[in-house]
């Protein structure tokens, strides 16, 4: 008897899309890999790498332009329905019916997939036990937390007992605790139940949970192998650097990241993690900083960045120089929040939150989706009123303040929110006028912005057709035209590739060094290292506040590695939940 066919075999897969703007996007180019029976394979790469397209081809939802995809021994392009009958596919936005209960959702998917009634009891029991949703069967799906929704989506996908499970970014926007639980479930499915799983993720740290990783970038496979093999690409080249003169980690990071001998530099636990181009730490021109380098163990992200920098575009300068830095004296209070509460009906989104931000600080609001950070942020910007408590931004409450107060702040929204139909120039012109710039000064500022953000060559393009990284730059440019004292950035790095995120933080660091106060929200825990101070939010409460070092002290690790921001976050949330249960 011949062995069963491999669950996934891809040969030379290619797919192109033509955008509305008639621009061709290469989603996949010569992609080949195979997934063995009973393994957990991760497709790892930044947004736009082609992960979703690949999974959609595997699920028979779109045909490839070229190449062949075999799933469970069947040619997907020839027999999509036969493949779909045997796989489980969970797209990024899974179709849960929010007005139905957990049980009703399960029943619905069991009906849709024709699961025989006599088997259901047993299947439901094992799925609900595995996902720990058993106590919540009568709760409406819409009332579940982000993590629980994803678990329910997974249970609905598994209700038909598929032979192959395809998951598209199941952990996006899910809090770190639930993320770990989801990965535990996936590993359990592979190791205990013999399922084959292909999952995509843009969180690089998650790749370490998988047996096999396929690293993708701009539609191509950069490398594949076990996480250890990818990590080994950076072996012997990773160091922790700290400056003897007490230079702030993020300033040192900005400095090192631009260095030609450096592949990657990120702030970590008060020092800077550096991946060098050679087994020796970078040296040229760094003597005056008197840096100390100590070798450290590489991790997956380091290996990824080595692969990534070999093919990624040249990095752009992230230096930024303001012609009129904010006038407020150093040390003065820019933002003050006291006892802030916001309720929506009976739901309390923000529950007695207080904090202060000084001029020139980078202040982070961290937490998973639904933690209350966006609501806090929107109240600060004056977009929604507070239920109770006081808010002062630049000595004014923006909800009631006159136009002059709003002229002192800049705002970059989570989603690109400039006018997509208008060109780069038209957008800049509009926002410049909105902020009271006119005539010569307006032209000067627009020229400055186009130069700082490298937008000159794109000025006449519709801003909606710009590549993602440039949209982000245009949004920043528009927010900085009037040289605001305070900059609000809402999830500004979500959807950006690792390089674009580092450039972004380089600019933020430069702005803060010139006295601009920056308030930023993010769900990337490691980005907290760039902040001067931050507050950790969960379920509307501020659970911890302080410098990154203060926050990190809450966490511990058994394997002796330095505590990451994510470890600390999990420790803080678990601690708080235990205390809640105890009282």
């Amino acid at each position: 008897m011949s062995p069963p066919p491999l669950p996934v075999v891809l040969r030379g897969l290619a797919k192109r899309f033509v955008r509305d703007t008639s621009e061709t996007v290469v989603a996949l180019d010569q992609v080949s890999f195979r997934a063995e029976q009973n393994t957990l394979t991760a497709l790892v790469g930044p947004d736009g790498a082609g992960k979703s397209t690949l999974l959609r081809i595997l699920a028979g939802l779109v045909p490839p332009d070229a190449g062949q995809a075999e799933v469970l021994g069947l040619d997907v392009a020839a027999a999509p329905q036969a493949v779909q009958n045997r796989i489980g596919y969970m797209p990024q936005k899974f179709g849960l019916y929010e007005d139905l209960s957990v049980q009703q959702n399960l029943d619905l998917y069991a009906d849709l997939h024709g699961v025989p009634p006599d088997q259901r009891r047993e299947i439901y029991h094992s799925l609900l036990t595995m996902t720990a949703l058993a106590p919540f069967t009568s709760r409406l799906a819409g009332a579940l937390s982000g993590g629980m929704k994803q678990k329910l989506g997974l249970a609905c996908t598994l209700v038909r007992s598929p032979d192959l499970l395809l998951l598209d970014e199941p952990t996006v926007g899910v809090d770190p605790l639930s993320r770990r639980e989801l990965w535990d479930i996936l590993r359990h499915l592979v190791h205990q139940q013999g399922l084959t799983v292909v999952v995509s993720t843009s969180y690089l740290d998650e790749a370490e949970f998988c047996g096999h990783t396929v690293v993708m970038h701009q539609g191509r496979v950069l490398a594949e192998g076990t996480p250890a093999e990818i990590t080994a690409r950076a072996a012997g080249r990773v160091f922790l650097a700290s400056a003897a003169n007490g230079m702030a980690a993020r300033s040192l990071q900005a400095h090192l990241f631009r260095h030609p001998e450096v592949v990657d530099a990120v702030p970590e636990a008060g020092s800077v993690r550096v991946v060098s181009t050679s087994p020796a730490p970078p040296q040229e021109g760094l003597a005056e900083l008197a840096l100390q380098f100590s070798p450290t163990e590489p991790r997956f992200e380091d290996g990824f960045m080595v692969l990534f920098r070999a093919v990624a575009r040249e990095q752009h300068s992230s230096a930024i120089v303001l012609s009129r830095p904010p006038a407020a004296p150093a040390g003065s209070i820019s933002v003050e929040v006291r006892d802030l509460v916001r309720t929506f009906g009976s739901f309390t989104a923000v529950n007695h939150v207080s904090f202060q931000v000084k001029r020139g600080e980078i202040y982070g609001l961290l937490g998973p989706n639904g933690a209350g950070k966006s609501t806090t942020f929107r109240m600060l910007c004056g977009l929604i009123p507070a239920t109770s408590g006081t808010l002062r931004v630049a000595n004014a409450d923006l909800r009631t303040a006159r136009a002059a107060a709003r002229a002192r702040l800049g705002y970059v929204a989570q989603k690109f929110s400039l006018y997509g139909d208008l060109s780069v120039d038209e957008n800049l012109d509009f926002f410049a006028t909105a902020y009271g710039l006119r005539g010569h000064r307006k032209r000067e500022r627009i020229d400055w912005a186009k130069e700082q953000f490298d937008l000159g060559a794109l000025s006449s393009l519709a801003s909606g057709s710009l590549p993602g990284g440039y949209k982000q730059r245009l949004a920043m440019a528009a927010a900085l035209l009037h040289e605001p004292d305070i900059l609000f950035l809402d999830e500004a790095t979500s959807g950006a590739d690792p390089l674009a995120r580092r450039e972004f933080w380089g600019r933020i660091t430069a702005l803060s060094e010139q006295g601009v106060t920056v308030i930023v929200t993010t769900h990337f825990m490691e980005e907290a290292e760039y902040c001067d101070r931050l507050v950790i939010l969960d379920s509307g409460r501020a659970l911890a506040e302080g410098s990154p070092a203060d926050i990190r002290r809450h966490g511990q690790r058994s394997d002796g590695r330095p505590v990451t921001m994510e470890d600390a976050f999990i420790a803080i949330v678990e601690n708080w939940r235990q205390r809640q249960e105890a009282s």
Partner: protein, 373 residues
């Protein structure tokens, strides 16, 4: 103050660019009004042509044949059946072959000769009220004309000694189109400006650009003005295109003054944009904005006098029409277009529109301030 002016100008420019840059929205701003205007011009007409009728001629005299020739030659009627007996009539009407049956009595010619009334019987299909009623009217007037013509030819005096000689002013041929097309200037532009205004805010809400706008120094009232003016400009362009279709395509002569027409239009657009802005402050999505506009447009049209005379409505509804800007717009455009009405004649309507705008715009501004975010 001067900053506010520049901000508003920037917003107006941005709105117009957004509408006119996109080829699809450029087309959808100009083509539908012209198409609707053409459609209304041809489809919405009460003028009858070729109404099918059945003839039962019991007389079969020279006079009855002349009478039938008058009916057939009028252009309004088309004979679909010539019957032999009264029993055949019901079949023709019930099966909808004919809308009317005209029955000529056996002594038609004799009665005419005798100088007395000749009772021609008309049986109409009452299921089709409008057509049947109008057609009956047509038969009567054709009959009267035939009789007076017959009498003068046969040297008889007109029976009552008095003949009614009607003449319609302003619309000499009683063409529905003359009445309908000028009314469309208000109706179509109101619908389009309301959708445009409601959508322009809803689109920004959906795209997230509205919040970006709110954190800039723009005040709610400035945003409102900046949203209202572009819609009014587009509305004026649309009104002009309808005016051109009316004159160049349908050849309806414009009797009035353009200055008065555009002044009235400005007032009317301000009142309708106020309603559009009010909607936009409630609608969260473009879908809600569109549904909202369609839902409120229906009563506005019904209560405007566009298709049914206001004087036919129950008294309570007649009072309600006083709140409807479209009612005034229709009455004003008809008066200006066909009668050359001046400002003094239009004063009641102008004041009413001014009053409506003075309510809708401030209410919209208040809603804007309190429902934003």
């Amino acid at each position: 103050m001067i900053d506010a002016l520049f901000r508003i100008l920037a917003l107006i420019r941005k709105e117009l660019l957004a509408i006119l840059k996109d080829p699809r929205s450029r087309v959808s701003v100009l083509i539908p009004p012209i198409m609707q205007c053409l459609l209304f011009g041809y489809a919405a007409s009460y003028d009858l042509t070729n109404v099918p009728y059945a003839l039962l001629d019991h007389d079969r005299s020279a006079s009855s044949r002349a009478y039938v020739a008058a009916l057939d030659g009028s252009g309004a009627f088309q004979r679909v059946a010539t019957l032999d007996s009264a029993s055949a009539i019901s079949g023709q009407i019930t099966e909808r072959h004919a809308v009317l049956a005209v029955v000529i009595p056996p002594d038609f010619e004799r009665l005419l000769m005798a100088g007395t009334a000749a009772p021609v019987q008309v049986i109409a299909d009452g299921r089709n009220t409008n057509t049947a009623g109008t057609a009956q009217g047509y038969v009567s007037s054709i009959t009267e004309a035939f009789i007076s013509h017959w009498r003068s030819e046969h040297g008889q005096q007109a029976s009552a000694g008095v003949t009614v000689n009607t003449r319609a002013w302003y619309n000499p041929n009683f063409e529905t189109r003359w009445n309908m097309i000028p009314s469309l200037i208000g109706t179509i532009t109101m619908m389009m400006t309301m959708i445009l205004t409601a959508m322009s805010v809803a689109r920004e809400r959906e795209a997230g650009t509205f919040e970006q706008l709110l954190v800039t120094p723009f005040r709610p009232s400035e945003i409102m003005i900046g949203k209202a003016i572009p819609s009014m400009i587009i509305g004026t362009i649309q009104a002009t295109s309808i005016l051109l279709v009316a004159q160049l395509w349908f050849r309806i002569p414009f009797a009035g003054s353009y200055a008065v027409l555009y002044l009235s239009l400005f007032e009317f657009l301000a009142a309708s944009v106020g309603i559009g802005l009010f909607l936009s402050s409630i609608a969260r999505t473009m879908q809600q904005a569109i549904i909202g506009t369609v839902v409120i447009m229906m009563p506005f049209m019904l209560l405007s006098g566009l298709t049914t005379p206001i004087s036919n409505m129950p008294v309570a509804l007649q009072y309600l029409t006083c709140l409807n800007p479209l009612r005034y717009a229709i009455s004003m455009t008809r008066q200006i277009y066909l009668e050359n009405a001046g400002i003094s004649q239009l004063l009641p309507e102008m004041l009413a529109l001014l009053a409506i705008a003075a309510v809708t715009l401030p209410v919209a501004a208040w809603m804007f301030r309190n429902r934003l975010g």
